[in-house]
Amino acid sequence: MLIFLSSMLTNTWSQVERGSVLIKNGTVLTITKGILESTDVLVKDGKISQIGKNIAVPAGVKVIDATGLYVMPGIIDAHSHIALDVINENTNAITPEVSTADVINPFQVIIYRALAGGCTVSHALHGSANSIGGQSITLKHRYGTYDPEMMKMEGAPRTIKFALGENPTSHGRRDGLQPQTRMGVEFVIRAAFTEAKAYDEKWNTYNKNKLVKGFRGAPPAYSYRYETLGDILKGKIILHCHSYRADEINMMLNVCKDLGIKNLVFQHTNEGFKVAPELAAGGAMASVFSDWWQYKLEVYFSTAYNAAILVRNGVVTSINSDSPDLIRHLYHEAGKTQKYGGLSDEEALSLITINPAKQLGIENRVGSIEVGKDGDLVIFKNHPLSIYGVPQITLVDGIVRFDREKDPADMRIFADPKDALDVTLHKSGHDNDNCMQGTEFLFGSFDSDLD
């Protein structure tokens, strides 16, 4: 099985589109190695090969003039659901065997819009309907490909989605099954791992006995579900846990400590500020909203200072979107932490670059501008944290995937002939007010009542 997978890996690696480009004379925000004024960045075959002044143009390599512009690493969104056809397999509280890697849709136009917002990598997560949800996939926004395999970030570590609180318990209450309360969520998770351990032991025993000469015996039942849970216990999968309240965050920290799970990232974590020292001590990371709360009871007690407090307490923190809208301006979301918390430019930009890279285990590939890293870059007009910041060009693996100067009206890759013609330009001019369009039926019934 492993041989199978690694051969698939080399296949994808060799087929990914990679480009070469020389970005000249920009203000390079490396994130990890300071700010470099009037500096060139050379990308060769998809990798950053040189950073310096006056780099000679290699033959046949395209040049982008970044004079007066800012160059930063491609933005990474650690919590997203774009480019997926399905988000939740919500028929069971435990579904670690499913994977969003199976339902990638490379044709969603939102991928292009994310690129227009400078976002080059997103963590395509399973939803939060289940206590133990599905495995998730880290995507590179290679918009233009027809092949869902090409959207996968080759070599990115495995991740999985867990969920605590109102979302998984509401499904339990709907079906009359566990979990229906926060206590139930903890139990469901602990019980699943206990069963997974028992499964592992059975297989370890069988595999050991198999080697003994003359052994005759039946193998244990095969369960894709317990295999995956076992992989989490063995540290092969990064656990991303949807959570809001401080009590459940604490609970999960304890559960992971008991089970020896070290790779842990809390998602949303609106009350993370209350347990910031505990998160840091437990080695857990946090991926949060900039200022989104009170859309349900468990998100009541929140603050826009959340990210800053977590950072100041030594927790590796990122800001995510969990939204097809916010993914288009994560640079402004990061900027909010400068008003609410006084984070420095570098700290704020880290929230959308190197920190989410660490949370996805891809910090050796992306998240900063360093020689050897992937050519995932965004060229901004004005500083990204400025309200006037606007992405101009976005590159993935050295290929320009978005260029504000060359932005056609119809960016669909695969037009579905059954789609209705969506004409966006209606009658121009103000003789006809379109604000109430489609609401005529609300006024029809009034007429007849007046008869």
Partner: protein
């Protein structure tokens, strides 16, 4: 008209008491003076084909006719080998309404509730008198690969004839493939493609493990735990052994990718069928060795609107034109799919699963217009599916010794005005009625003027109305009142063709306009027909003329 001529005079005896089906006079037929297309590129002009006892016994320019042969004068007609359909559900009954009890644990449902019944054989559901089967046969299909109804793993496919005196007589080959669709179970696990993909992998691995242990056990059973029988997993054993392919219905591009992902992970032999969006990955299909059946369903052509002059076009119109152009290009991708497969040298058959039989001849013409050669189209209907399904020794061409599956059309099949006249299935002759399009008997004149009382039968109960029709100088006018109408509504588009009455009117339904259409056959003082209420569906309607005072 019909070239039917009894060569032999046979006295027949009718049993007075029983209504016994008559044994055919002869099972030998001679189709004479017909243009024979033995296979694409092999043609005999004005020759004869003789079939006897279900087999083709002679094919040639001048052939001695057996004395018992029933002669079919097919002057200037064309005969082809009967067409083969790679995937359809024509001739397959739906299972009876299962137990609709709610599943207690939706995460762990019994396999049949999860759509996992791979052990089912379509043989148990065959119906030789299914109307859909007759429709397929009438356009020239004589063999089809059929599958059971269901979701993820409905069961095994079988190769059947599109006709026969019994379901056993229909069957050519049982359990030809394990059928599957990436369809969720509805409200239990696996509900979405996420669960479906994981469940497929798990079932296959469990089956491979169970099969392996069963052979270990069989070789020496003493001291070993007895393997428990599992009919779900057993259905996979021939696939694990590479002796049986998996027949996957995969219409859309991403579906095909996901099916290939399963094939890559698990390694089973694969047939993809009802493929609509295969053109972006022809190379992947070619290198995988998977067998292909392309869909005969096509998206509707875009209605061309009059082009507006450049000066009068608003920005919205410019945008609309660009979108329409894109849509036409998208539709062209679907119609030219087969041509692209031909160009890439990937053999394929066709599947009628999502197509309406009455659309298939015109869809084939669209596919040919988009670049597939006529020879390639005929091959995809005959020789290639025979090859892909292992039937080449007895089907797919008109040659001595092959099964008598033939289709005779009055003009070359792909000609726009061609009509299928005869179809032979396993040597049994089916004469196809060539109906004219008119539904009405144009000779009958009916009187529709006057007052009528109508009753429409809807699920909410019967709705009554009063219809008044008046003859005008040109056409008719009328009103409808009663029912849901606060005031009488004017009728629009009243027409009478022969004895068929058509009229339309608009209701105000909660502020939204709802178009009502009635079409009914008039017989004296009554009419019977259908009323269609916009998107709410069609219901029976009857009218009775009010007695004249």
């Amino acid at each position: 008209m019909r070239g039917f001529h009894l060569a032999v005079f046979v006295p027949f005896v009718l049993s007075a008491q029983e209504d016994k089906e008559l044994v055919p006079v002869s099972s030998t037929y001679a189709i004479t003076n017909v243009n024979i297309v033995q296979s694409p590129g092999r043609r005999i002009d004005r020759g004869t084909v003789v079939v006897k006892n279900g087999l083709i016994v002679s094919v040639g320019k001048s052939v001695t006719l057996p004395s018992e042969a029933i002669i079919i004068k097919a002057d200037s007609m064309f005969v082809y080998a009967g067409f083969i359909d790679g995937l359809t559900r024509a001739g397959v009954n739906k299972p009876k309404d299962e137990n609709k009890d709610k599943v207690k644990d939706p995460g762990n449902p019994p396999p049949d509730k999860a759509g996992i019944t791979p052990q089912t054989e379509v043989r148990s559901f065959l119906n030789s008198s299914d109307k859909a089967l007759e429709e397929l046969r009438s356009i020239g299909f004589t063999v089809a690969q059929v599958v059971p109804h269901g979701n993820l793993l409905p069961g095994h496919a079988a190769l059947v004839l599109t006709g026969g005196s019994s379901t056993d007589a229909m069957l050519i080959s049982n359990k030809t493939a394990l059928y599957s669709e990436l369809t969720g179970a509805g409200s239990v696990y696996p509900n979405t493609i996420l669960g479906v993909m994981a469940k497929w992998r798990e079932l296959y691995k469990q089956a491979a493990q169970a099969k392996s242990y069963e052979s270990v056990y069989a070789s020496n059973r003493v001291g070993l735990e007895r393997p428990v029988a599992d009919k779900t997993l057993e259905a996979f054993y021939p696939v694990v052994d590479q002796r049986m392919p998996v027949l996957f219905r995969s219409e859309k591009l991403l579906e095909i990718h996901r099916v290939f992902s399963l094939k890559t992970d698990l390694g089973f032999p694969l047939i993809i069928a009802d493929v609509k969006e295969g053109w972006p990955i022809i190379n992947k299909i070619k290198s995988s060795g998977a067998k292909v059946f392309l869909s005969l369903d096509l998206p509707e052509e875009l209605k061309k609107e009059k082009e507006k002059k450049a000066e009068t076009r608003t920005p919205a119109q410019v945008e609309k034109e660009a979108l329409e152009k894109r849509k036409s290009e998208a539709i062209a991708n679907y119609t030219s799919q087969a041509a692209k497969f031909q160009l890439a040298g990937v053999p394929f058959g066709f599947s009628s699963m999502s197509a309406k039989p009455k659309d298939i001849p015109s869809n084939l013409r669209r596919i040919i217009a988009a670049g597939l050669s006529e020879d390639a189209a005929l091959a995809a209907l005959t020789t290639l599916p025979a090859q892909l399904l292992g039937l080449s020794d007895r089907l797919g061409t008109i040659d001595n010794g092959k099964m008598a599956n033939l289709v005779v059309s009055d003009k070359p099949y792909f000609n726009e005005k061609a009509k299928v006249r005869y179809v032979f299935v396993d040597g049994v002759l089916y004469t196809i009625d060539v109906k004219e399009a008119k539904k009405s008997d144009s000779n009958v004149k009916v009187e529709i003027e006057g007052k009528w009382s109508t009753v429409a039968q809807t699920p909410q109960g019967n709705t009554e109305g009063k219809l008044i029709l008046k003859k005008e100088a040109s056409g008719y006018s009328g009103t409808i009142s009663g029912g849901n109408l606060p005031a009488p509504a004017d009728l629009k588009e009243i027409s009478v063709e022969g004895n068929v009455l058509n009229y339309k009117y608009t209701l105000n339904f909660g502020g939204q306009p709802l178009n009502i259409e009635v079409e009914a056959k008039v017989d004296g003082d009554g009419f019977k027909g259908t009323v269609t209420a916009g998107q709410f569906g069609s219901f029976p309607i009857e009218g009775t003329r009010d007695p004249k005072k």
